[in-house]
């Protein structure tokens, strides 16, 4: 099995450690991983802003980069959801469809495909889990508080395998952080207020780290935490699942 590693553009540029942890984690689990070097962006920022018609080139580029792999894995629920819902191509329609069936967000790849039952990881800290909307409601990584349905959480399932990690309970388990792509600047006031409220929930429950499957939400919350001069840090879930702290 060869996995094509899909690293979202902003993770590549700003959060290489999340990408390195994803790569190392998959390798540790015995997966052959290849990173196609010519990848850029999945096109979501344009599409969510109403410019899906401008994503033809990024779609075709994505298909060329990833069509040959058995699976495509990315440390981002949002970008994966975008590919699953909106990847299309007039030039490579069959390849686009095939990719939609084999692109996975990291967490679901670990729980559903690799069916990981234990991890050699240690992270002795209090951690708050931020359920990113596109991962949770879009990819169904966890049950949703709105629905009358059995509870489950794939990210929690993995975090519970990490030695020493203490998950904190949140008052609002799955409220949006307000990042929302270009929403974060177009609707700056509401975006920031949502982020502040989300961060406050984690702080109230004494989380030392906020983690999640989407670095974009974490980047937004990190920006708020740092402006507040808080000591609380954000870490992508891959970095925690790959941690070997003593």
């Amino acid at each position: 099995m060869t996995v094509g590693l899909f690293i979202p553009c902003y993770v590549d540029q700003f959060y290489p450690n999340a990408a390195i942890a994803t790569l190392e984690l998959l390798e540790k689990l015995g997966v052959r991983v290849v990173y196609p070097p010519r990848q850029t962006c999945c096109g979501q920022p344009m599409a969510n802003s109403g410019f899906e018609h401008l994503t033809k080139e990024s779609n075709d580029l994505f298909i060329k980069n990833f069509k040959e792999f058995d699976y495509i894995v990315a440390p981002s629920g949002s970008c994966v959801l975008h590919m699953k819902e909106h990847l299309h191509s007039d030039r490579y329609p069959a390849e686009a469809k095939a990719i939609q069936g084999k692109v996975y967000e990291l967490i679901e790849f670990l729980t559903d495909v690799l069916q990981v039952e234990n991890l050699q990881a240690r992270f002795p800290h209090k951690v708050g889990l931020h359920q990113s909307c596109h991962g949770q409601r879009g990819l169904k990584l966890a049950s949703m508080t709105e629905l009358v349905a059995p509870a489950f959480s794939k990210p929690e399932q993995l975090l519970r395998m990490v030695e020493g990690l203490e998950l904190v309970e949140l008052t609002r388990k799955d409220e949006c952080c307000g990042f929302g792509g270009t929403f974060c600047v177009a609707e700056e006031a509401v975006s920031v207020k949502m982020g502040k409220d989300r961060v406050a929930d984690h702080l109230q429950h004494e989380a030392a780290y906020i983690t999640g499957a989407d670095m974009s939400c974490l980047m937004h919350m990190e920006g708020i935490l740092r402006r507040q001069k808080s000591n609380v840090k954000v870490l992508h879930i891959a970095e925690i699942l790959n941690a070997q702290e003593l």
Partner: protein
């Protein structure tokens, strides 16, 4: 005329008072939690939603037939049925009925449709006084404001502010904000209104095709009070409010109040089938853009809406921007997918007032794919040319960068270099990200560069 400010601008103003935003958010979140509790009392809740959605699907596919069936049955019952193509015609029909009876003041129970048609303003211009009898609606009417929420019209007002309004308009003592006292004052004021108005106007929650009857759901009984005491009852209804059979109320009434406020059912679910002896019962069917929406395949499901307001209560953006920021009769996520159909230019901003978190679609009792429609409206609005030029240019530049791996790498490297070495280029007030958030700390090396140094050789 001054252009309507957009959602972002209005929401920014709303956010100037953070404690008030917190209060607004908590109040609506409390209702969302009540809704969750009520939903969880029904193990088959999701099946109930699916059933309601399918019934409405059938309605939308056979709307023409159900409307005619309703009309025939209603006429046989003695109801006078009218058809209005748009808001103007609706207002004219209502006005003509009132003129015929020489009525110059009416009592009205809650009807978002008449808000959509701006009936109150129209009648006022024609010398007819309208008193809204729903307590929340009366409060916003006294404040000369539109409702900020379809179920909770004055949810944006604190009790102290209501006390001030009642002091000014209803003569309560200054500084009184005890809800019991204020409600009693409203009760006495409205009682006089109910007793003296010869015509009553109401909305409609469900029109039953099979029987030609209609159902109005209220908690205050104000629709009944108005309609039963008046000689003329005019009910205004959007054409999508049809349900095929009376038994379907067993699905919708269970969903409506639980979704709206977390109650098992509204206090009053009143059925109106025929006029009393010597009285008149009118029903005005209104299209006002609904046929157009029915013809938009991607958006037709929005017509399934039963106006419960659950999508507003759950929406993290609505809770933190307030209903008035949506500058449309129906606010929140559902308003944002309905309003562009009525006026795409004026409401072009609304589908963007969302993070697409999807919570709205999850609470919707008729399973409207609200957040997917928000995404689709964004595409339509841009294609129709309603996106602003700056944004279009930015998006085009972004597309160019992402289309070329080498440009992307160069831009990324340059960007990170600037952020590290001349941070003031980005860290200033021109950058909306930086206003209340720090920029990410740019690493020296991108993942791509790291990979090249650490893994590439083993791959080859």
């Amino acid at each position: 005329m001054k252009e309507t400010e957009d959602h972002a601008t209005l929401a920014e103003a709303f956010n100037a008072d953070e404690p008030r935003v917190n209060w607004h958010d908590e109040t609506l979140w409390f209702i969302r939690q009540k809704r969750d509790k009520a939903a969880h009392t029904i193990p088959d809740w999701e099946l109930l939603r699916e059933t309601a959605s399918q019934i409405k699907h059938n309605v939308l596919s056979n709307l023409h037939d159900y409307l005619l069936q309703f009309e025939a049955n209603a006429k046989a019952n003695g109801i006078i049925v009218h058809w209005a193509a748009d808001a103007a015609e609706h207002n004219q029909i209502v006005h003509a009925i009132l003129q015929k009876h020489g009525v110059d003041r009416i009592v009205k129970s809650k009807s978002m449709l008449t808000e959509e048609c701006h009936l109150n303003e129209y009648l006022a211009e024609h010398g007819i006084e309208v008193i809204d009898s729903d307590l929340g609606e009366r409060i916003v009417q006294l404040a000369k404001e539109p409702p900020s929420h379809i179920v909770l019209p004055c949810i944006h007002k604190k009790k102290e502010e209501i006390g001030d309004l009642f002091h000014e308009h209803l003569g309560t003592a200054p500084g009184v904000s005890d809800p019991q006292v204020l409600t009693e004052a409203a009760r006495q004021h409205l009682r006089e209104t109910f007793l003296t108005r010869r015509a009553a106007l109401t909305g409609v929650n469900f029109a039953v095709a099979e029987t030609g009857e209609f159902v109005i759901c209220t908690n205050e009984g104000n629709a009944d009070m108005g309609a039963h005491l008046a000689d003329v009852h005019i009910a205004c209804v959007g054409i999508e409010k049809i349900i095929p059979k009376r038994e379907h109320l067993g699905v919708f009434l269970r969903l409506l109040a639980r979704s709206a406020t977390g109650q098992p059912i509204t206090t009053y679910s009143s059925h109106f089938k025929k006029p009393r002896e010597g009285h008149e019962l009118h029903l005005v069917f209104v299209d006002n853009g609904r046929s157009t929406q029915l013809g938009r395949e991607d958006f037709r499901n929005s017509l399934k809406c039963i106006r419960c307001g659950a999508c507003m209560n759950t929406c993290p953006v609505y809770r933190r921007s307030g209903g008035h920021s949506y500058h449309a009769a129906v606010a929140g996520p559902i308003g944002a997918i309905l309003a562009p159909n009525l006026d795409m230019k004026k409401n072009a901003d609304l589908p963007f007032a969302s993070t697409l978190c999807g919570s709205c679609s999850n609470v919707c009792p008729v399973k409207i794919d609200i957040h997917q429609q928000l995404y689709k409206w964004r595409q339509v609005i841009v294609q129709e040319g309603y996106a602003d030029r700056k944004k279009t240019m930015g998006m085009k530049a972004m597309t160019q960068t992402f289309a070329s791996p080498s440009t992307f790498k160069l831009a990324g490297k340059a960007g990170r270099w600037f952020m590290r070495n001349v941070p003031f280029v980005l860290n200033n007030k021109m950058n909306p990200w930086y206003k209340q958030r720090e920029m990410p700390e740019p690493p020296k090396e991108s993942f791509g560069e790291w990979y090249l140094r650490n893994r590439k050789k083993t791959d080859e």
